[in-house]
Amino acid sequence: MARRFMAAAAVGAMLLVACGSDNKSSSTTAAPGTAASATTAAATATTAAAAATTAAGTTAASTGDTTAPSDTTASDAGLVGDKSATAGEGCGLNNGQKATGNPIKLGNVTTSIPGIDFTTGPAMMKAYFDCVNDNGGINGRPVQMLEENDNGKPEDAGAAAKKLIETDKVVAMVGGFSILDCPVNADYYTQQGYNVIVAGVPAECFSSPNIAAVNMGPGYSALGAAQIVVEKGAKGKMVTMTGKSPTSDYNDSLAGLYAKSKGLEWEDLQPELPISDPNTIILDAVNKAGDGGAVVLNFTPPEGLKLLKAAEELNLIDKVIWGSSTPLNDNSVAAALGKAWAGKLNVNAELSLLDDPRPEMELYRQVSQKYNPDAPLGSFQQMGFMIGRIIVKTLMDMPAADVDDPVKVNAAIKGIKNFDTHIVCKPWYFGGLPDGNVPNNYDYNVVPDGTDTMTLDKDCFKIAEVEPILTAVRKAEVEQKLNVG
């Protein structure tokens, strides 16, 4: 009797469950973003030398032939290159004095669930705010970051935004890293008059007039990776992979459009997260891609690494050309992959290299080391830092009396343009464009170097226009001079 009872209880439990770096960069990489600008008349000798270094590195690190026509040649106009950072030097006022008084509250909605944990991004933004608060704050007042977890549930995402705006009275919503915030709350933010800066994941983060992302999200990033694997000679079939989530159909759709436009077959695989059988999943993907095909991953580092280590174990590395969206641009990934993957994984990098020597990245590393010492350097952290730089500079440029007024703060956010930062290829802007905003639409390609660093393989290149939003965005950039100085 007891045995039967336990068996029934055990099945019940099973069903319940069923439903239910620190960076050690040592290479002396040339500043990305300088290669293209080196061809301009204003290029300095230093930049030209850097470009030469970059070009050499590219050749050395490339895998596969490059006989396919290139779609990734950058238009050099408007790249940030070595321009001075808009946010200036140091944190905030950079005066070494503690900020005092009532804090200026900034809110964000972020996802932290098993298999999808984006909290490293806001953590770095908070680290920057801590640095700002130790250096005079926003004209003397401290910044406070309030973060809410959406728990991967739409109802929680909605409640989180309402709580932050109506109860906590945040003056701006910035630095959210969420799979649900944009689709659930875009209309609410519009009603409330909030212009939101995020690190975007789902399509709505790039198709809503009142939301702008510092990154380009899994959709455009996987597209960038697809461009590179095609350029490196992928033939026959491209298999894209992303974890099953509310955004998964969007994540690889643009890469799929690109593959088809190049005459490749395309199949998208969406395993459950967290991945518990990496060997069989990656074996399936490579078999489906076929010899000489391409596999493009769209996962966070913990999930992506499982698949890549499984591919190594099963001798699958050289069967296909490998690509990945931005999250695997992380030196801890390079360290875990080791020699077997040297130069063989093409990671689309939406943001600059982690050892980029330009001042903005140097400041990021310094702030990370002092205020977020346990976190490795990585793309999500760069995004958090960049959003922190943008909002702090925006608030500092406002009259002190206006920074507690959400209407004025959000008007100032909407007006951001030509924000030079060495973290992305072109100056950043908010836009507020009717079809959506994709202010970051030029990328890098990086590869693991076989030790512990992701190195530059291809400098700033143009993300392909496979859908109308990006075409409209690029047209508006020129017409409104959003990112051309």
Partner: protein
């Protein structure tokens, strides 16, 4: 639909996971037979041991997959010791307090331990970054499929555990005492069987098995994913249920079958995509089917009428 020959690499992977299900199932069955507890904390305890071993191996965010060098090789035995110690501590300190409660309450106690350990791990080891433990391993090709020594060790260990535990239960005095307690704890106690000591021994044995499983499981999973490792137990329960929490041999073969079925369903696509999508349901489907089969002759009295 893939051709028959294409299944071989998937069968290899499935046998390795099936072996881990089998060993875990064996640990669960032996403990249940002796104490009446289904240890739902088996996975969490193993996961905790693996995380401590990862730290001792020198793992860090810049070195997510540390290799054992010098004294750090002690991390592997440490893992087993931690698992055995935690399991034994629960068996000595908490389990006796619930000894006279019904089986569900006893098992819920272990669920509480699992959740506690999961919370500690989440707090101490940030889940947003990769972590893994690798064992020194070689690989070779068998009929076109890649086999690793870790997979072979997993399979061999599963067979060894089932054989040794079966012999132990049937041939030794302690094993006989364990079976006696499983039949009737009070009568065994009256007959002079040291129930507390025998039960503690069962907890210890289960903990050692747990430690050994978690030496091999992270390399097979390629990660220390806390959720996956903690709830690995759920998949393993399928085999134990088919064996009715009594037969180690049936548990072994059922677990192996579950592992292989789960794996070979992966490559199905197009019209058969649903088979791939639902492959993780395999342990549940097998368990439900087994319960229905086991209960097929059971008589139920409904409204005063006997029904079959």
């Amino acid at each position: 639909m893939p051709g028959l020959g294409e299944f071989w690499p998937y069968i290899i992977q499935g046998l390795a996971f099936g072996a881990m299900y089998a060993v875990t199932g064996t640990g669960l069955v032996v403990l249940y037979q002796t104490t009446g507890v289904v240890n739902l904390a088996f996975g969490a305890i193993g996961c905790m041991g693996a995380h401590l071993a990862w730290s001792m191996l020198g793992g860090s965010l810049s070195k997510p997959t540390p290799h054992a060098e010098g004294w750090r090789i002690l991390a592997y035995p440490l893992l087993v010791v931690v698992c055995a110690g935690l399991t034994l501590a629960y068996g000595i300190c908490i389990a006796p307090l619930l000894a006279r409660r019904d089986p569900l309450v006893k098992s819920l106690g272990t669920l509480g331990l699992a959740l506690l350990l999961l919370g500690i791990m989440k707090e101490r080891w940030d889940t947003s970054k990769p972590r893994a433990i690798e064992l020194p391993s070689k690989k070779f090709t068998v009929a076109g499929g890649v086999v690793t020594t870790t997979q072979l060790v997993a399979l061999g260990f599963a067979i060894l555990v089932v054989v040794v535990v079966t012999i132990f239960l049937k041939q030794t005095a302690t094993g006989t005492a364990m079976r006696a307690i499983a039949n009737d704890r009070d009568v065994s106690s009256l007959l002079g069987v040291p129930t507390r000591r025998i039960e503690a021994l069962a907890w210890l044995g289960s903990g050692v098995i747990c430690g050994c499983v978690f030496l091999m499981l992270p390399p097979l999973f390629k990660s220390l994913d806390q959720g996956t490792l903690t709830w690995f137990i759920i998949g393993a329960l399928g085999g134990a249920i088919v064996g009715q929490f009594s037969s180690l041999t049936v548990t072994f073969f059922a677990s192996m079958a579950i592992g292989v079925i789960e794996s070979v369903l992966t490559p199905f696509s197009n019209n058969f995509q649903f088979m791939s999508d639902f492959r993780k349901m395999t342990p549940f489907i097998v368990a439900v089917a087994a319960i229905m089969w086991i209960s097929r002759r059971r008589t139920v009295v409904l409204a005063g009428r006997e029904m079959r």
